[in-house]
């Protein structure tokens, strides 16, 4: 059914008791044309665009837990396309364009809110670096505005402008950036894919990948063997584990990233603000809670919980930026497992195994990329070749020396 004001009125009259389920709960068929491992944002988006753009609807998405239980429901909901390097920026800008039309496209309210993303700078060299990045963005047709301290003060007067150590000198603003209701992204893509014939199979854990003569023929799962012609891996933090089932070793480490939400407050921060002297980013949800986060904990982890030192570090950065935060109480914190790649950029590519495709290495920037990642991965799977938007996201770029290292940290995943 199509959601509209009429369907809302109709269901209001029947007391909201007759809404149909948003997607089916099917048993797996014996085989599919395409199987996607991972029912998170990227896997569901891939299935959606396979069905919608490429007309391939004989697709199953296998999710080991419940739909959207991973990082798509654990991130801080920020969308932006303020990257600098050529391989990255056109891709993320395409993602932004897809966000802008997403709700009409998949007929679901994802609360896409382009409320602006502001990165603060605290030194003259940092401002120069921002000016350079802003220019790189504008070359790719992305909006970027360099603000001075007064420009920032007009937007957020409560920031600590005269901090003794990290005074605020200005910032770079992308007005088209913002936030999206993250769960609704998973639900919208799931519903859109399901209505086009894709089977979304929850609580279905993949236990093995079967290949014959270097070609994928199917996957073993806790619900039995499922055959497929093509197999897409979109397993985020578990990418190494899943790829190992096919004998692949990836340039990826798994790390834990924590996120936090405060008690509900009256409207306080209407955009997204990031601290430039440490890693801290904050926005306010429509419920009023401040949603914020920082860096990964720094050690390899598959535990979806972090340690207290990083909690303290994040809060310290927050209070250095907004002294008023010292009076706010944190409601809860949680962790998600990030697939940290060796250059901080993702991989959307074919592999050495026929019919096996890889979507991984999103570090902690995967949420904003969800639409373009699914769109490009669907293209790569459907045509067995890369689209020009993900042409730089090759798996073999590390061997060839074509890294996309925005932070310039080298092959140290815990520093990206």
């Amino acid at each position: 059914m199509k959601y509209s004001v009429f369907s809302l009125l109709k269901n209001t009259l029947s007391g909201h008791k007759k809404w149909p389920a948003a997607w089916r709960d099917p048993q797996p068929k014996k085989d599919y044309e395409v199987v996607i491992i991972g029912g998170g944002g990227h896997g569901l988006a891939t299935a959606y665009y396979l069905a919608k753009v490429h007309g391939i609807s004989n697709v199953a998405v296998l999710e080991k837990s419940w739909l959207g239980s991973g990082n798509v429901g654990r991130n801080t909901t920020i969308i932006r396309s303020n990257y600098m390097l050529p391989g990255n920026n056109p891709f993320y800008e395409w993602s932004m364009k897809l966000w802008e039309g997403l709700e009409q496209d998949f007929n679901f309210n994802a609360m896409v809110s382009q409320r602006g993303v502001l990165n603060l700078c605290h030194t003259d060299p940092q401002r120069d670096a921002f000016a350079r990045r802003g220019n790189a963005m504008r070359i790719d047709g992305v909006d970027a505005e360099l603000l001075d301290a007064e420009g920032v003060r007009e937007m957020y007067p409560f920031l600590d402008f005269n901090n003794a150590r990290f005074p605020i000198k200005g910032g770079i603003l992308q007005r088209r950036g913002g936030t999206v209701r993250h769960d609704a992204v998973a639900w919208g893509y799931a519903r859109g894919a399901d209505s086009r014939g894709v089977d979304i199979i929850q609580n279905c854990e993949v236990t093995g990948i079967k290949t014959v003569k270097g070609k994928v023929v199917g996957v073993g799962t806790n619900k039995g063997f499922i055959g497929c012609k093509k197999l897409g891996l979109a397993a985020a933090g578990n990418s190494s584990e899943v790829a190992a089932m096919a004998g692949l070793k990836l340039p990826i480490e798994s790390h834990v990233l924590q996120a936090f939400v405060s008690e509900g407050l009256k409207p306080y921060i209407d955009g997204v603000v990031t601290f430039g002297a440490g890693h801290f980013y904050v926005s306010q949800s429509d419920k009023g809670g401040l949603v914020f986060g920082g860096d990964i904990d720094g050690y390899n982890s598959y535990a979806r919980r972090g340690n207290l030192p990083m909690v303290e570090h994040v809060i310290e950065a927050g209070v250095a930026m907004i002294p008023g935060l010292a009076r706010v109480r944190v409601l809860r914190s949680w962790g998600g497992i990030m697939d940290m790649s060796m250059d901080g950029s993702p991989i959307i590519d074919k592999t050495s195994i026929d019919g096996l495709y890889l979507n991984a290495g999103w570090c902690y920037g995967g949420f904003k990329a969800t639409p373009a990642s699914g769109w490009c991965f669907a293209h790569t799977i459907a045509h067995d070749e890369l689209h020009k938007l993900n042409a730089a996201y090759r798996l073999d770029r590390f061997r060839r020396g074509y890294m996309i290292d925005e932070k310039g940290q080298g092959a140290s995943p815990n520093l990206h």
Partner: protein, 93 residues
């Protein structure tokens, strides 16, 4: 997470800086023919879910390089040795 440093005793995790997989071995040759070994060493990781040997620098303590054997799912710590002892044991085996 508490880590028992061989020199300093049991210390909190924030005193340590982590530097990834300790089990990988640096190739000894500069011969361009060994580029594949170098590629494996620099970029590829087993990234295990479970028991994991990891470099930890006691950066806010004795500044010794250690190897901590930890479960990456439960954070249970099985063993802590100095990086030197870890390397010696590897050479001996």
């Amino acid at each position: 997470m508490l880590i028992k440093c061989p020199h300093c005793g049991t210390r909190p995790v924030e005193e340590f800086t982590f530097n990834g997989d300790a089990s990988i071995q640096r190739p000894t040759s500069n011969d361009p023919a060994t580029m594949d070994q170098w590629f494996d060493y620099v970029y590829l990781r087993d990234n295990p879910k479970g028991r994991f040997d990891e470099y930890a620098h006691h950066s806010s303590g004795c500044r010794a390089w250690l190897v901590v054997t930890r479960d990456t799912q439960t954070h249970e710590i099985f063993n802590v040795v100095t990086a030197r002892d870890y390397a010696k044991k590897r050479v001996a085996s």
